[in-house]
């Protein structure tokens, strides 16, 4: 089963997105802050990381930077899922190595799931 790490401080989103991913037969691990997210990324080696930017303890950009520096996590695709939509944020995320940048309000939940499937492939 393919493993997805969801780093997001909104418990509601953890629940809705997490539930759907489980139904789609993905294994999900959740982290409610940046620090925990980074730690879990290193220990759990997920197949994909969904990352919010405004996070407690450690900003999403810092998490992304660390992920892309560390040899054990740099190959894992990272989808940014946030409500920040300034061009400079998008550019920075892509420059730091994010695979996709999604602005939450612009997507239906179905659309987000499709993007995830596209980035990770069908669940094994």
């Amino acid at each position: 089963m393919k493993k997805i790490l969801f780093i997001e401080d909104e418990p509601t989103l953890q629940k809705t997105v997490g539930d759907i991913l489980k139904q789609e037969s993905y294994e999900t691990i959740s982290a409610l802050d940046g620090e925990t997210g980074l730690r879990l990324a290193k220990s759990e080696k997920p197949d994909l990381i969904l990352l919010d930017l405004i996070l407690p303890k450690m900003h999403g950009f810092e998490v992304l930077k660390e992920l892309k520096i560390s040899p054990e996590t740099k190959e894992i695709p990272v989808i940014i899922l946030t409500n920040l939509e300034r061009m400079e944020d998008v550019d920075k995320a892509i420059e730091l190595g994010a695979t996709t940048y999604l602005v939450k309000t612009q997507y239906e939940i179905k659309g987000v799931i499709e993007k995830i499937k596209k980035a990770i492939g069908e669940p094994r």
């Binding site: 809705t16 539930d19 900003h59 409500n83 939450k104 239906e108 939940i109």
Partner: protein
Amino acid sequence: MGIIIILTAIFSFLVSNRYIDDPGIVALIVFIITSILFIIVFIITRSFERLAEASRMKSEFINIISHQLRSPLTNIKWTFELLTSKEITASKGKTEEYFDNVKENIARMMELIDDLLIVSKIEQGSFPIMKKEIFLEEQVEELVFRFKVFAEASNIKLSFNPQKKLPKIFGDSSLLKLVIENLIDNAIHYTPGGGRVEIRLRQEKEKIIFEIEDSGFGIPEKEQKYIFRKFFRAENIQKKQPRGTGLGLYVCKSIINRSGGKIWFKSKEGKGTTFYFTHPIK
């Protein structure tokens, strides 16, 4: 602007030198003209700075508000999509949980809008104070009871110790409730698990003093002077708790000042903070 001042000084020197014989008076005229120019430049620069500051605050405001409103909105939107989708089915036992989530997110949005409305009223100088006789101790008690669940969920000990036989006060119950709510909410949010928040209420001469002490993160010394400013959030707090508008303490200060009281705090980074406010009894 500097070049204009220098040129004007040289020009006025040449002109007055030509028509006036006394070098003392020439120097005086050059000095007066240059000073007037300096003052004008200073005033213009200051107004530009103020304009820039106002515009910066405005765009920061829009940025904060849109993010703060969008988060609960996305939560509601996606939860409803999940509940109504034909392709994705929410597991039966969970429907209630999803509705609770929606309710909680709507409350979050309403809270933010309430804060914004109060701020806008404060700005316009038009928020009425409806004073009546209230028993502050009872009001604090109620709020402490309401926040207890939240404190326990964060593993924080919340306690209330009022002095005995406190008198009733003459004040605006809903505004005072807002102040106390804000202070308790901050204290719990900015205290790590295992910590404590203690509220005390006592009388001193003709006023009541409310104190709330926490064993939290504290406010860095260099940022303490900004803490009651609109939209200001201390740096250490932003990292630990990204949600928050930076409006709460500004609202508290405006309300307490209007009610004839004072609000202040003592804080040490890493040790905790105590907020105090006073309210006249009559």
